[in-house]
Symmetry: C2
Subunit: 226 residues, 2 copies
DNA sequence: ATAATAGTGTCTCTTAGACAATATTTC
DNA sequence: GAAATATTGTCTAAGAGACACTATTAT
């Protein structure tokens, strides 16, 4: 009745207009050569969230102020890892565009991989299922929380935020209706006063994340066209 | 790096117009005399869900066809149990009104306790926090899933279903608007054709749970008056 | 000027919530 | 009939989505 406990990480970011997850390539059996979620054993006297933060730091060099982190679920069926009984407390993390990770120390190459490609390939262990669960959680939370702000920089435009929704949901949103909804959702956005000219066209207002934790009214998903 | 893994249960039901949880009274230290969530160790070669079902059966004699069961979250900070490092995978369950449980074998008295009383008292371990998390999850899921049907019998009336919402949310709902919403939510209810006269007044139609897993449109919480 | 992007206004349709009215039972 | 509960209908206000229009920049 003694179990090994690990913390694995589903870490999402947006790169090149695609939703990507950080994955490591296994270089020893089982599942040698397959992609797996980053993770590791929880240490003695280490909390679960602390372990997740440590993993996050080891993989990306980022601390958790820039990255939203929450528990996803725990996977612990016997047989999910042929080496023994391993209970995995999986955490879900969202970050702005991050640099390509340095090749890991113990693990093999760590890389950002597009989620759609991952889901149509075979991953190590039960990580395909975990990734699916994480994706669904992310999609749902965009609707009723300001989670999308975790994918962009500290100061961002409404268009950048809309882009997050479009990429994660895989839909197209009307820029005008989206603008009205998102600026009308109290506590979601805080204008910084600044403007930007990152692209051509009229400069956009810059915003910061507001202090709301729940969106009311929500940004509904059915708005999709396409 | 070897951890003990338990499965604890937040089991909700409605008794006497109150939301109640099944609790056991500890009869040995630590937290002797305090109320705690029912639970136990996961066995070798036993899945997490299987362990939760086994616990449920041991405590209530019910199998899981009559009870909705889902994973809530995992609590595993060091120090949460003075006896050692214990990682607890907590499951959330909802059932119709159940008989008073037989006094447990190993544990002390098992009893249904009103949730509001529990939350204003000191529970064993971190179970107060866990109960709070479970309550919030239950309240949220009433909005967008047919979860309320798990609290009533197999055949039920709209009024019985409304009562579930009122008790769990602690609000009052307009019977007329509620009726329109719930019967208009596709896939939530299936008319059985039967009628009932459990109370005075005009007999009510009987329904069964439909096959929807997501409510669209949802039964919104802000409808509350009072 | 033209292209490009940002932001506002307007219209229609659906839904939420307040509340009136009707239906069907028990006592 | 009176009381109680079930069910339907009506009205108003708010939000969603379609889409025209104006604003401000680069080239």
């Amino acid at each position: 009745m003694a179990f090994a406990v690990t913390v694995d990480l589903v870490l999402f970011t947006i790169r090149d207009d695609r939703l990507c997850a950080l994955m490591v390539r296994r270089r020893s059996p089982p599942y040698r050569g397959k992609w797996a979620l980053p993770g590791g054993f929880v240490e003695e006297d280490e909390g679960l969230v602390d372990a997740a933060k440590r993993e996050l730091g080891e993989e990306t060099g980022l601390d958790d102020v820039r990255v939203h982190l929450e528990q996803l679920a725990t996977y612990g069926d016997p047989g999910r890892d042929p080496r023994g009984r391993i209970v995995s407390v999986v955490h879900l993390a969202f970050g702005p565009e991050l640099p390509e990770p340095r090749a890991g120390d113990d693990a093999a190459a760590a890389r950002w991989r597009p989620v759609d490609e991952l889901l149509s390939s075979r991953l190590a262990f039960d990580h395909g299922r975990i990734l699916t669960d994480g994706l669904e959680r992310a999609r749902a939370k965009l609707e009723y929380t300001p989670l999308a702000t975790a994918f962009v920089g500290e100061d961002f435009t409404v268009a950048e935020l809309r882009h997050v929704y479009e990429v994660v949901w895989g839909t197209t949103l009307d820029p005008r209706n989206f603008h009205r909804k998102v600026t009308g959702s109290p506590g979601m956005l805080e204008p910084t006063g600044g403007r930007t000219t990152r692209n051509a066209g009229r400069p956009a207002q810059l915003y910061r994340r507001g202090d709301a934790t729940l969106l009311n009214p929500p940004i509904t998903r059915a708005q999709a066209s396409d």
